[in-house]
Symmetry: C2
């Protein structure tokens, strides 16, 4: 299983080693396996000269058990290095992602190509497939990005939801195991202190996710010192309050019987998730650092590592990156058993395909992240002069339903704002403990977990999760939304009440900086549609962006009808929605998004009729899509050397790229009726027209010297994209 | 107490009213008081034609008790309309801020000028002092902005910490009550579902905050429907797991004895916080909507309100905004008692001032938010050629300690990264249950609560809280950081590891969009210092910005020494740190922040010596401060019509305002050593020099037509600032 021939042991056992073996209640090989993991973790961090040796050394016994194949009688996971994306693999999430040396070691021992011995030696180096925290897009066998604490365990809740839903939907009485995997997590106290995990685990308890087993590395140590500095709550009691089964294992360093029994119990309990509180010692085996914060986030040092190896049975104190033949053979055997399980599953799936071709094909399409044929055929079109204007959240509802009827992979819901967010799929039932086939999720008032759970559902496969709240409360979920973008998970965020236009609820609920926060984030689509046609484009962009999350921003209040809106043009991110009158370059360009577009159209018409200022209006629903167009198209829409005024009821920060002057927010909003707020803050057509006129006059005074916003070299991706 | 003469009752009691009174275990006046609150809430929402009547109607009995003065034998709060900022008032936080009609009514009944009957009638209207959610800066008597769920209860934890710390610091054996107030909270299930409240309450239990009493409005209803949709955990058990005393009150609609006893019990229990789970009915009294989600967030309707009034004892179904004389008199009496308590406290404080003039004066200074004289005198200066370069986080530590020794109001800590964030005040002890006089807080891995607790501490008064984590994890805390900015709370955020330069931990930990997220936020200082001198400016800006939070961004790795850095110049937000050689306008301007400044200096020197490109380097530690300078200064630093290249190891989004081209991030980072990353992403001096040269050549090809970035009208604050 290793890329180098196993090292032959030639050293003599130390007294310490003998005594460790003597007190160990289990086979010598088991102990040696676990010790080998510990030593490898210490070696990797030492070679990288940075990283976290303590947690892997303490958690090695858990990893050992979780990597024992079910099919060989172990209690652990079935998975396959030959097909890391095998649908029914048992998922594993290392929620304490800083312990990732452990994960890479286990992947190495199981034969995953991204974790060769050379890659273990390249731990945390630029370009390696063994980065400082687990990255799903970088390392095959890693399911999600973890490291930001609390994300992993919350992702795992999403994976368990996905598995339960898909099992309920696609399994049959004669094929009960098409989707039947379990999800395992190792997490530390950091993950449990984070609010996001409380949100996710409360929901997991409510939903009775019996396919989720969490091993809590209770090592009593945080970065600052003992957990008694800040974390003295009764975790067992809290998780029982959530409706979990909580089991306690007092020791894993001297034998695995208790942990094995606990995992068995967790697997047997199918009506609630299980938390196993495992008492461990951080940096186990380190004579001077075990049980101390000092082994959390720094290399142990060469001499300490030698001391570790001299104390742990089966290790050679003088060798690094050493995996003895018997150890390698053991894990190779476990991996082979896991792969056998996959092969057996595939044979079974072939029969399923014969018996239930429709279900099987749909499942294949879903796991391949392919859109159904004609996915966008039912998207509605707004007919000017005939259809009634409405809020863009109602338009979002129409589009969501138009695509959802064909795409069962769209599953999601709201953080307790279903009606306000207009995100109910008509006729769809709730995903609940008693109805796992339902596709609407009641997330509760838990925005951060909602986003992380959606990430987990996407990571599971076969899913296009959507989730919803007020745009302002994206600020509660940003930690997880960023993980969507980083992990390349095409989660769809429906964010309504997208400006001060939400009105009376006031500045606590009115987003100002949020659009810019999201636009500044790499690999994130932000779409703010001006009407139904642009909303159809938003859904098309979102669904096509399998590896990019999309935020669909919607108004609370109705927008006026637009004569020249276009789904196809909106797909380009920006387009001329009202051309200037007559020939030649316009005198003024207004560029706007969402609910400000129709006001700009009104302003432009007034400028033309009252002042003969030939004004163009550009609707720019998606900057990211616009930036992907070629330069000539972009210039044809936004010439750059024509006075350009941007209008968005949101922070003006970031708009200097596109405009010479901005009508935007520089303060927080206020509580009051929408139209009064729009006048107060200058987003009414009259003020826009006045400012447009001022802008034209300003440059006239400068003898027409309009700085050309397009006369800039593009230094984007100077050295190429990172990934 | 009302601005209008009390309305005389002329109607006849209905059967419903008689029966309500008959079953009520308490005085008729008490019931009438509570019913009056209910009716006023329904009236306010009806008149506003938007808002939340259900929670105030259900919570009215709690409010009634909390507004009964301690000094008159009640169990409630002592506070004073005559001096809403009286230091030792019992604090009240309405964590379910959408129920704010309730708070405004109680303030009205207590004689607070901002809540006159006219203001109750102007509820949720533009410019009123009764906005749609409570805003501390808008309404006297409101302590914090609530509405974003979970913030209020977390703020209250901060208030309780502040009270406990100040009490331990300033009370004496003979003056035990200089600071001795309690903090009361009403919250709903939404607040308890949010992760932030779990974080804050776990810490509150750990700290044994016996001065905190939370009334949980357990009405079993969320916006989407029954709480059984998503929230079935055992809240009592969870809070007991946190170490709280949890009491249960099954009914408050038919009498207050149980709740009164529970509050008494909560006040007696001084070693742990108390949660009182109060079973209520949302929209109590509404014949068709009581107990239903439909009365959560919409007016009841005129006929339903009439029906409510005809059912509730003491009300006239045909009158709106009606407060009978006896009701007004009762609350006026309570308010007077509260004010008496203040007067007595003031007399006591006068004696305290005589006995302990030093303590008393310091406390006054603190509550006045005045800096100690010479507050900045000890800030260090970096001497080029003599002092050793270091990371800016170490510089931050030096500056923090330089100001902290003189400013005891600086109290705070880290989310379990004390050493990494370099935020330990030397010699300071921890604030713990047994050591409330300590000023270092161990927040645990709880970023969101940390920020909200800091807000609460600031709101309490006498405090300049600071808190720390990695800059990337500001994304976890953004909901509360925004509340700092909105609420005008000068919290100091120390955010280290501020770019891809954190290195091996990789993209999950490397901020990219975070600086721009924060810069797009109104009323938020973002300072990224390039060396010790600029860091001293950062602390000076932060401390002087009493009503603006400041984020101090710090590097993990050392920065090279800068010859011309200046604390005074850095205070202006941007300045020339390396002038171009010779006379006349420069050929090129490089503008950078933090760890990129010295690289730009190196690049500029190379451009001069190798290509005779006369290059100016501008250091721009704080855009907000720079924008406050007059135009001539800004132009003297950044001419705008000279090719300008910005260099920041963060998203280039937002930099188009300042530069023609950007060296910035457009993707997430990677795991690897810092210097390799800086080369990979183009932030090394060599690449910066190359791009600078390219930029100069680009405009040469355009015959020197450099678009003038300053040739734009300023439309900032088009219609004036909101507040």
């Amino acid at each position: 299983m290793t890329n180098e021939p196993p090292t032959k042991r030639i050293h003599t056992e130390t007294d310490h080693q003998t005594s460790q073996l003597a007190s160990y209640k289990g086979s010598p090989l088991e102990l040696k396996c676990i010790n080998t993991i510990r030593a490898l973790a210490a070696d990797m961090v030492q070679k990288a000269n940075s990283g976290h040796p303590g947690a892997p050394m303490g958690c090695a016994p858990m990893a050992h058990l979780l990597w024992s194949a079910v099919s060989s009688g172990g209690v652990g996971r079935d998975h396959s290095a030959a097909d890391p994306k095998w649908w029914n693999r048992d998922r594993f999430v290392l929620s304490n992602g800083h312990a990732c040396a452990l994960q890479y070691i286990m992947l190495h021992l199981s034969g995953y190509e991204d974790c060769s011995i050379d890659q273990l030696k390249a731990f945390r180096q630029l370009g390696s497939t063994t980065p400082g925290h687990p990255e799903n897009f970088c390392t095959k066998g890693v399911e999600v990005c973890t490291g930001p604490l609390g994300q992993g365990i919350s992702n795992a809740v999403g994976m368990a939801i996905a598995a339960k839903h898909l099992g309920a939907t696609y399994n049959t009485t004669d094929f009960p195991n098409v989707i039947s995997n379990k999800t395992y997590v190792i997490c530390g106290d950091g993950c449990l202190q984070e609010g996001i995990s409380g949100e996710a685990c409360s929901l997991a308890g409510h939903l009775g996710l019996g396919n989720l087993i969490v091993l809590y590395d209770d090592n009593k140590i945080t970065i600052d010192g003992g957990t008694d500095l800040a974390f003295t709550e009764d975790v067992k009691m809290r998780y029982e309050a959530y409706g979990w089964q909580v089991l306690t294992v007092d020791d894993v360093a001297n034998g695995l019987d208790d942990l094995r029994a606990a995992i068995e119990e967790g697997k047997k309990t199918t009506d609630k998730p299980t938390l196993i509180k495992v008492r461990t010692a951080i940096g186990y085996g380190s004579p001077n650092k075990e049980g101390k914060a000092s082994c959390h986030g720094a290399p142990l040092g060469a001499s300490e590592i030698e001391a570790v190896k001299s104390r742990l049975y089966g290790l050679d104190p003088l060798k690094s990156f050493c995996i003895d033949e018997d150890v390698a053979a053991y894990y190779a055997q476990q991996a082979a058993e896991g792969d056998k399980a996959r092969v057996a599953w595939e044979a079974n799936f072939a029969k399923y395909m014969e018996a239930y071709p429709e279900k099987a094909t749909e499942l294949q399409r879903r796991f391949n992240q392919e859109l159904v044929e004609g996915a966008f055929d039912d998207l509605p079109t707004f007919v000017y002069g005939k259809d009634k204007p409405d809020s863009t959240r109602k338009f979002s509802e129409a589009c969501l339903n138009a695509v959802a009827s064909k795409a069962p992979e769209l599953m999601g819901g709201s953080a307790d704002l279903t009606e306000s967010n207009c995100c109910q799929i008509k006729g769809a039932t709730d995903f609940q403990k008693a109805s796992p086939e339902g596709r609407m999720i009641r997330f509760g008032v838990r925005e951060h977990a909602m986003a992380a759970i959606s990430n987990g559902m996407f990571a599971y496969g076969g899913m296009r999760p959507f989730c919803a709240t007020f745009l302002q409360f994206a600020g509660y979920a940003l930690g997880a939304m960023r993980c969507s973008a980083l992990s390349k998970f095409g989660v769809i965020y429906i964010m309504t009440h997208d400006s001060i236009g939400l009105g009376e609820d006031g500045p606590t609920h009115q987003p100002v900086e949020m659009l810019e926060s999201l636009r500044a984030m790499p690999n994130m689509n932000v779409v703010r549609a001006a009407d139904l046609n642009e909303m159809a484009a938003a859904y098309q962009i979102a669904l096509k962006s399998v590896n990019t999350p999309t935020v669909i921003c919607c108004t609370r209040a109705p927008v006026s009808a637009l004569e020249h809106s276009s789904r196809d043009k909106a797909m380009k991110g920006g387009y001329i929605i009202l051309p200037e009158e007559g020939d030649g370059a316009p005198d003024l360009v207004l560029v706007a998004t969402g609910s400000e577009v129709w006001r700009c159209v009104d302003a432009a018409k007034a400028l033309q009729s009252e002042h003969s200022i030939r004004t163009r209006v550009v609707s720019m629903p998606c900057q990211e899509a616009f930036l992907e167009q070629d330069e000539s198209y972009r210039r044809s829409v936004l010439p750059g050397n024509i006075p350009t005024l941007s209008v968005e009821a949101s922070s003006e920060h970031g708009w200097h790229r596109w405009s010479h002057a901005q009508v935007g927010m520089t303060t927080f909003g206020m509580s009051g009726p929408l139209e009064e707020l729009f006048v107060k803050f200058g987003f009414d057509a009259e003020n826009v027209a006045n400012k447009g006129k001022e802008l034209v006059e300003f440059y006239k005074q400068l003898d027409g010297a309009v700085p050309d916003l397009n006369a800039r070299p593009s230094f984007v991706n100077i050295k190429g994209s990172a990934h």
